[in-house]
Amino acid sequence: MSVVLKRYIPTIILAALAFFMVGDTLIAEPTYNSLATSGRSAVTIISAFAVMLSITLLTRIHAKRIARKRTVIESSVLLTCMWVTLLWGFFRFALYGVQPTQEAVVQNIFNGIVSPGDSTIYSILAFFIASAAYRAFRTRSVEATILLAAGILVMLGKAPIGEMIWTGFTPISDWIMNVANKAGSRVILMSAIIATIALYIRIILGYERGWMGRGD
């Protein structure tokens, strides 16, 4: 019975729902479509519970860290204090209907901490790209040389200074993006889509069980 519960029932539920939702894309029957719309609404509601799950995990991890007085707990304490703003925003919305985007405290934390923090880490990519390109773009083989040449031509074509150096960079760069890159990207995209179809069929038939937390 436990094998039936753990393995077969989740797969059957998954398969039934998968075919049901795929059918909604293909079939135009009002009752069926409205049931599918309700299904999508259900997914939206369930995803909200994922937020609660992440809050629970966050609390558990950082509360443990503070309790065990791990090396750096200041960030854990700060994060836990931010709960106050979360609760503040929630109660302001629940009791007074104030939207989070219009709540000053929430917006100040977003504009003052979250947004600059994200932007800072994203900007590290500029340095990493430079160092990765400097280290990796060596003409060790014919393919590597073609990669290097294409990269340089596209960079010069897209940057305004390239057009100032030579106007020919722009049409060459456009050709590389519109023809070579388009063909390659389409191939990768189509392969991924076909493989995804096969993977989902494997999941529906029960051959792929990683999503259930089972390896064998």
Partner: protein, 263 residues
């Protein structure tokens, strides 16, 4: 209602419905033929997957951990599912060899599946007491906070192998550079075509697009899974033939095929 449903295909979707049914049939044929031993397909060599054992062996010799991440996707993301298949295999190998296995993920919906998968891998290896729950880490739900957390973990722990297999967006290069600085052997894979160049430039092995999704079948060699890969190849061949014929016919003015497929 069922009869009404059968006759109510959306306008312009007859081709899509036909393709959907054909895809199911073709992959089903591939699985059937392989399970019954009619055809014995072989998936071509994937150097990235073959290198997994080498990476884990290196980690054993150096006494340093193996880090595995499935990226910023949730459990419904196909790349995360593919990554989890590989993670189960790697976790079991690490358990057998006594290597510390660190697993990180960004979306909390991955946590139940990941925890069960890795715990089961340790049990299957005969070392359930070695499973440490804290090694299965949810770092953050935010993309760059997660990237920073992984970066710090990889450099602090000086991982010997950095396995980046799953769904990645702009933060992919952060993982790869962090692994490079830690001196780790790196295997990366994703279907996001715009991140693949970053992995190719910085990692030792890269699984491109469908190689990641097929990796589970490659590792397990289970007939059902390999058969689905065979079916996938059949679909590809049929698609290529249709594209070639369709392009030629369209160029000379015959649009029947395009209309018939409802595209």
């Amino acid at each position: 209602m069922l009869v009404d449903v059968a006759l109510s295909v959306r306008t312009g979707y007859s081709g899509a419905l036909l393709m959907f049914i054909l895809a199911l049939i073709i992959v089903g044929i591939g699985i059937y033929l392989t399970i019954n031993g009619v055809i014995k397909p072989r998936i071509r060599r994937l150097p990235g997957i073959d290198a997994l054992d080498e990476c884990i062996g290196r980690a054993t010799e150096l006494g340093r951990p193996v880090h595995f991440t499935v990226g910023i996707g949730g459990i419904s993301n196909v790349q995360v599912i593919a990554g989890l298949s590989i993670a189960g295999y790697v976790a079991r190998k690490c358990a057998e060899l006594g290597v510390r296995f660190l697993f990180t993920f960004s979306q909390p919906t991955v946590q139940p599946a990941a925890m069960d998968l890795i715990k089961e891998a340790y049990v299957a290896a005969g070392k359930p007491e070695d499973f440490v729950q804290e090694n299965v880490m949810w770092l953050s739900g935010r993309q760059f906070s997660f990237a920073t957390g992984v970066m710090g973990l990889v450099v602090r722990e000086r991982v010997a192998a950095n396995l980046i297999l799953g769904y990645f967006a702009a933060e992919s290069l952060i993982f790869a550079e962090a692994g490079f600085r830690a001196g780790a052997v790196q295997i990366a894979g994703t279907t996001n075509s715009y991140q693949i160049p970053f992995f190719v430039a910085t990692c030792d092995y890269t699984l491109i697009s469908e190689e990641l999704i097929t990796a589970g079948a490659y590792i397990s060699q289970e007939p059902g899974q390999v058969g689905s890969v065979l079916g996938q190849d059949y679909i590809r061949v049929i698609g290529l033939v249709l594209m070639a014929i369709g392009s030629i016919l369209y160029a000379v003015g015959f649009k029947t095929l395009t209309t018939w497929l409802g595209l």
